[in-house]
Symmetry: C2
Subunit: 125 residues, 2 copies
């Protein structure tokens, strides 16, 4: 498929796809006239890239780990890298959980009429 269709399917911009290629995250073969063509599997690949970006990995890190993820190839370094990222994500989950719980506490206390917040809204009346 062409780049526009891949963009539509995977929900990212055309510019982003070209950027991914530039960063070595996404391959494309070229038509005779030089246009990018992608296999069906490219959509999944783009999804994976987005997932890793969302987990806070940089392009460089993703580029280092992607071959390991989809080809199951790994060197001792890449395995250490994978484990390090896993641990980082774990720590991030823990921090986010604490933050969420803290927000929950704030929400709970701000809902209490006794905390002096609801007279502003006159208890909805």
């Amino acid at each position: 498929m062409r780049i526009g269709e891949l963009a539509a399917r995977s929900g990212v911009s055309v510019r982003a796809l070209r950027y991914y290629e530039e960063q070595g995250l996404l391959e494309a073969y070229r038509s005779a006239s030089g246009q990018r063509r992608y296999p069906e599997a490219a959509a999944d690949r783009v999804g994976l890239i987005q997932t890793l970006y969302a987990a806070g990995l940089s392009s460089r890190t993703i580029a280092e780990l992607l071959p390991c993820v989809d080809a199951k190839e790994s060197t001792p370094e890449s395995r250490a890298r994978l484990a390090a990222e896993r641990d980082r994500i774990d720590a991030q989950i823990a921090a986010l959980t604490r933050t969420r719980d803290r927000l929950d506490a704030v929400i709970a206390s701000s809902v209490h009429p006794s905390s002096g917040c609801s007279y502003v809204t006159a208890t909805g009346a």
Copy 2:
């Protein structure tokens, strides 16, 4: 205390503290000569700011929610905002958990000698 000490205590840069003030996240009273002075509680406040940044909130969002967090004041809008951020963080935790599990699977499979990755390292021998 002065800005340098607060920076040292809270583990952020002096520049960051001035930036927080600029964004309306952190107040400081001024000495006669115009230097910033902070109360002891400022260190905790900075910690909270960092926590919220780490949870993906922007300066603007933090500025909107901080009065609500520490003064327990809330308007209907701010409560909706709090709930929205809480839900966003929840979703982020879920996504990170999936990503972590996926990485775990990759790590597990890359450790298996059968996956053709360990002959490179000759099984450590």
